[in-house]
Structure formats: C-alpha cells, structure tokens
C-alpha cells in the first residue's frame, strides 16, 4: 500500500494539488488528510437538525408585549401585584398592561402581539416556550448564560461547542458565524471558544458593513490579481512540500498547507455568500434594508452553504432594553417581524427548515410592572426580568403550533414547566444529535460541557 509520503513524492503536481484533492474530498464528506478540525463529524445519534440560526433580540424583549398575553394585566392595570413584586434590578411599581393587542394565529390559535403579525402567521410552525427563566436580572450574566452556559466570562460559546462536536459542512467558510451591527454588550466573549481550540471560535462579521469586501477581514489582496496570487501560492506549496519532506510527516505542517488552500478558496466563496445583492429584489424587499434584515438574509445564505451555526444579533449594544417606554418595542419589532418571517419562509421553500433550528430569544424578559427607578424619563417601561420570559423556536425537529409552559397570571414568573437556559441548551444539542452530558472537553483538570452539571432535554417541544 502506498504511504502518504510516497504519495506526495509520486505526484508531480506538488503538495498544493494534494491539498486541493483533499478539499475536493471534503466537499463530499470527510477529508482524507484527516487533520482538519472543522471536517464534518457524525452526530452521536440521528439528528433532526444540522444547523442553528440564533436570532438574538438583545436587550431583553418583554414577554407580555410579544408572545405571552396576560388578560389579567388589563384587569389589574395600575394596581399593585397582589403578592408583591419579585426582585429585579431596579425599583418597580404597579402592574402595567400591554399597549398592544394580541391576536390568534393559524390552526393552533397561538396568541401573538400585534407588533409581530408576520411572525404570527407562522405560529403553526413555531413552538413558544413561555416558561423560560434565567439566573440574574442583569444583561452581562444573562447574555453569557444564554451564549455560553455560565454567568461568568470564560466558557466556550454554544456555537463553539457545536462546531467542536460536529465540525462544519463547508470547508471554504467558517463553521460558526456571528453577525452584529456593532457589538452586543460584552461582545466577543459571547462567541469565544475560550479553552476549546481557537478554530471553533465564532467568526464575527460586522454586518452594518454593506460591501462584502469589508465584511470579511483580509478577504481581498490590495495589490495582486488572482492569477498572481495563484502563482504565489503554487510557490508556497512547493516550498512547503520540500520542507515537509525534510521534516517528515507532520499534522501541523499539513494543516497549514491545507489552510492556505482553503483561504484561497474563501476569497471567492465568502464575498459571494455575504453578497445579498445576489438575491432577487423581491426577496431582499421582504427582509428590508435594516441591519437585522440583511443579517437574517445572510444567515439564510450561510446555512444554505453548510455553515453549522449563525447567530444574528438584532443590533448594537442592547436595543430591546426599554426601561423608559415599552412603546419603543413597536418600532423595534417592525424591523424584526418581517425578516424573521421571510427567513422562515425561505428556509422552508429552499428545503432547509426541517434541518435548521431557528431560535428567537433575548437574554431575559421584562417585568409586567412599571419601572419607577429614578433613571427613567417616562414611567411607561419595564425592568429586566430573569424570573420568566418567552423564547420562540422553529424548524429542526421542533413541534410546531405548540406552547410550552406558562408564567403566572401577570407574566412575572415561569410557574408551569419552567425551562432554564441549561435545559434549552441540552435540547438544542439533542436536536443536533448530541447528548449534552457526553460532549465534553478536559480543561484545567476536569471535563467541561456546555450545560456544566445541569440541563434536562425538554422532550415535549420536540416533534
């Protein structure tokens, strides 16, 4: 049998071509070089989802104004909560009814606020978890918990765990892509791989940039034509091959050679995939020209190309953090509703919704009572709420037209079938074909996992 080294010596075309052949192999599943940490890996058991799109409405959308109608709030508007207010970050007052009406949608009749009519029309495909809860009524720990499974900085992001566990299906693009116009609060820590190898970190793309060349760092050579660069890389391949012969077989050296070829190919594929002008005008119009709208459309194109996970942040900093005036939610939803609905429609029409889990959520919810801290200009808003909030899931094996759990009469606290962030993470991994207790990484003397020592799969939300 021919050894790899013999093979290299035999091929007159040099190692660059062998790497190229490896890549061609990777496209149909499995690189013969087997040194690529992003090569697709089989799930632990048959998966219902292959990709994740996480649409992050950062800042903390209010559940009682979006996906969790509370008629009792109307009745008791302006009155104190009978059992007293739960502790949140700031001082809160009496109950505040939602300024928005709720309507029933679809066969399932799930009620959604008037500010999300287009998403409402998809309720038969969605599962609304109305009993989400988290640990702290502060953005930083809650953002970290939702993204990394821990309140403190230092744990790998869910996307990093997913690419660590499953690799990615497209070797010409990063496996985990994060889109945000600017930065959410905390920023890169939310998509860091921390102690997992750096290859699994999220690739951050500031999607307020509109030209594809600006979206991906160093994607264009400022001086050379493609054929000049090809000549350079052919030389690089030959020099590396000479060195590899001298050094002996080495995974790292081979990985570097392979990476150069992928990088060369990324230059043609990445600008293309981020270039939403390739979509028809009609399609683009449905997403709108907002940052989030363009981000949703890019996420569709990335998933289509086999990227494992895409996270789209709604906006810079924390737009949904409406302490002052909950009416701002209407304006925010206007730029979220259309793109989310368009994304669900296009995933479906392109045959991707079945294998793509879409998560729509913030880091926590908001209080059903008005905020009265001295920090607000008008008293028509709501404080952070870690006791209860809603997340919406669709596709990827999720049970559509289903409401899971409930908050109390006023929407303050999850009381029926409460779902912690760890449970959500365990369920996401389960849908992706991974047992959350068996995806581990040894660091600092012990095995770590996304759910650490907690988490239960929520089987009721799975179709």
């Amino acid at each position: 049998m021919m050894t790899r080294r013999d093979c290299l010596k035999t091929f007159g075309t040099g190692f660059g071509m062998t790497a190229f052949a490896g890549l061609a192999g990777a496209a149909v599943g499995g690189s013969p070089l087997n040194t690529n940490p992003l090569a697709p890996k089989p799930p632990q058991f048959p998966a219902s989802a292959k990709h994740v799109i996480f649409l992050f409405l950062n800042g903390g959308p209010s559940q009682v104004d979006t996906f969790d109608p509370k008629p009792m709030l109307d009745k008791f508007n302006g009155k104190p909560v009978p059992d007293g207010n739960l502790k949140t970050e700031r001082k809160t007052g009496n109950l505040l009814k939602s300024p928005f009406e709720f309507h029933k949608y679809g066969q399932s009749g799930i009620e959604v606020s008037e500010i999300f009519p287009k998403l409402g029309a998809h309720m038969d495909e969605c599962c609304v978890i109305r009993s989400m809860y988290t640990d702290r009524p502060n953005h930083e720990p809650s953002l970290l918990l939702m993204n990394t499974g821990d309140k403190q900085v230092g744990r790998p992001s869910m996307g990093s765990w997913l690419t660590y566990g499953l690799g990615s299906e497209n070797q010409n693009l990063p496996g985990f892509v994060v889109l945000c116009p600017g930065f959410p609060v905390i920023g890169p820590q939310l998509w860091a791989s921390t102690f997992l190898p750096a290859v699994y970190q999220g690739t951050y793309i500031p999607n307020n940039e509109k030209t594809p060349d600006k979206l991906v760092q160093f994607i264009r050579n400022p001086e050379l034509q493609p054929q000049e660069q090809r000549r350079q890389l052919d030389l690089l391949g030959k020099l590396n091959e000479i060195q590899l012969r001298r050094a002996g077989e080495d995974r790292e050296l081979e990985a570097s050679i392979q990476s150069a070829e992928i990088a060369y190919r990324m230059q043609s594929e990445a600008p293309e995939v981020f270039d939403i002008s390739k979509e028809s005008e009609k399609t683009r119009a449905r997403y709108g020209d907002s940052d989030f709208g363009r981000g949703c459309l890019m996420s569709l194109r990335l998933i289509e190309k086999g990227v494992r996970m895409v996270q789209v942040y709604y906006g810079n900093s924390q737009p949904w953090d409406n302490h002052d005036d909950i009416l701002i939610h209407r304006k925010l939803a206007r730029d979220a509703d259309g793109p989310i609905a368009a994304l669900l429609e296009d995933l479906k029409s392109r045959g991707l919704l079945d294998e793509t889990l879409v998560i729509i959520s913030g880091e926590f919810g908001r209080t059903p009572v008005v905020e009265v801290s001295g920090l607000v200009k008008v008293q028509n808003g709501r404080d952070h709420n870690s006791h209860g909030f809603s997340s919406v899931l669709a596709g990827g094996g999720i049970k559509g037209g289903y409401v899971h759990g409930a908050t109390d009469d006023f929407g303050f606290k999850a009381v029926d079938k409460p779902v912690h962030i760890h449970d959500l993470h365990a369920t996401v991994l389960h849908l992706m074909g991974i047992d959350h207790t068996r995806l581990t990484y040894r660091y600092s003397g012990r095995d770590f996992r996304l759910t650490d020592v907690a988490g239960n799969v929520v089987h009721e939300i799975i179709a």
Partner: protein
C-alpha cells in the same frame, strides 16, 4: 530531564519513530507554530524594523508600532484581533497552555494583510546584489541556512515570471515569510 533534552531538534529518527511516535520519552523537540508575539516580532525583525529597546510604556499594536510585542498593550475588554487570530490567550482566563491553531483566516492574514505586505517589501528592499545573491541572503536571514539548488531554481523561476523584478521580489519575500519553515520552530 537533562538540559540536552531542551537542545533537541524536531528532526525525525526512523528508529525512534518506530518505538515512540508520539515522542512520549522526549527524544526530539515537538514542532511548534510560532506564538502570536514571536510571529509579529519575527516579521518586524526580518524586515529590519524591529525596535529592540527595553522597557517603556505599552502602546497599541498598529501599523507604525515596531516595538517588540511583549511591550504592546493588551486590552482585556477587546483583545487585539491580530493577536487573537494567532491564539493569544483570552486575558480574562487563566491559560495553562497556548493553543496553536492553523486556520484559514490566519492564511488570509498572511496573503492579504497590508501590514504583512509592507514587511515583505521592506525585507526585499534590504537584500542587495544579483537575484542569486539576494536569494542566498533571504534564506540566511529567514532560515539561517543557504538555499538548496532546488529552492534556488524555484525562486529564479518565480522571479522571472513576475511582471517586474521588484514586484516579484516583494511577492517572493511574502511567500518566504508565509512558509512553514518560517512560521514553525523546529
């Protein structure tokens, strides 16, 4: 472990490879990709621009900063993206060991980053004489050895194929800086 163990090269020995391929008994050096700091320092060194003065205030990494990376400012809030690209550890965590990844975005950096291209041009400009003499100087500067006959031929062929000689030299210098021999410690 004796100090001789620290002096070993990464050269493979067939007899040892057969017995201990993972180098568990430390019969050779484990080849390593240069760390982010060393990589930056080396690029500046071969371009002849590295400022080796000691001490002083930390400054941000930028295109005009030519100081050793150990004297560069490290932000805990937002780590320099180029250090992060080459696995500089998260400054908020303890780090028992460096990762040394080999990912395509790193190659894009070496292929297309204007700062890297500027170092390549500066290095090419340092080399004097005929093409043959300059190739020899380049190998001694980057790899501490003369080029082999095959390497010389590859270089000459590449330079002859370039639009003009100086452009060819800048492109060639960039490839030497990108090569595994430069970026790994044997």
């Amino acid at each position: 472990m004796l100090s001789s163990a620290y002096q070993l090269s990464a050269e493979p020995v067939a007899k040892n490879m057969a017995v201990d391929p993972d180098n568990r008994l430390v019969w050779r050096y484990n080849r390593q990709r240069l760390d982010a700091e060393a990589l930056r320092d080396d690029l500046l060194f071969v371009s002849g621009r590295l400022d080796v003065n000691e001490g002083g205030l930390a400054q941000n990494i930028g295109k005009d900063n030519v100081r050793r990376t150990v004297y560069c400012f490290v932000s805990r809030r937002k780590l320099d993206s180029e250090l992060a690209l080459f696995d500089f550890p998260n400054p908020n965590n303890t780090s028992e060991q460096r990762n040394a990844t080999n990912v395509p975005p790193q190659r894009l950096y070496f292929m297309n980053n204007e700062w890297v291209i500027a170092q390549a041009k500066a290095m090419a400009a340092r080399l004097k004489g005929t093409d043959m003499e300059r190739i020899d100087q380049a190998y001694r500067l980057l790899f501490q050895r003369p080029p082999s006959a095959g390497e010389k031929k590859l270089a000459l062929d590449f330079l002859r194929g370039a639009a003009d000689n100086e452009k060819g030299w800048a492109e060639y210098a960039q490839i030497l800086m990108t090569s595994n021999e430069f970026q790994f410690v044997d």
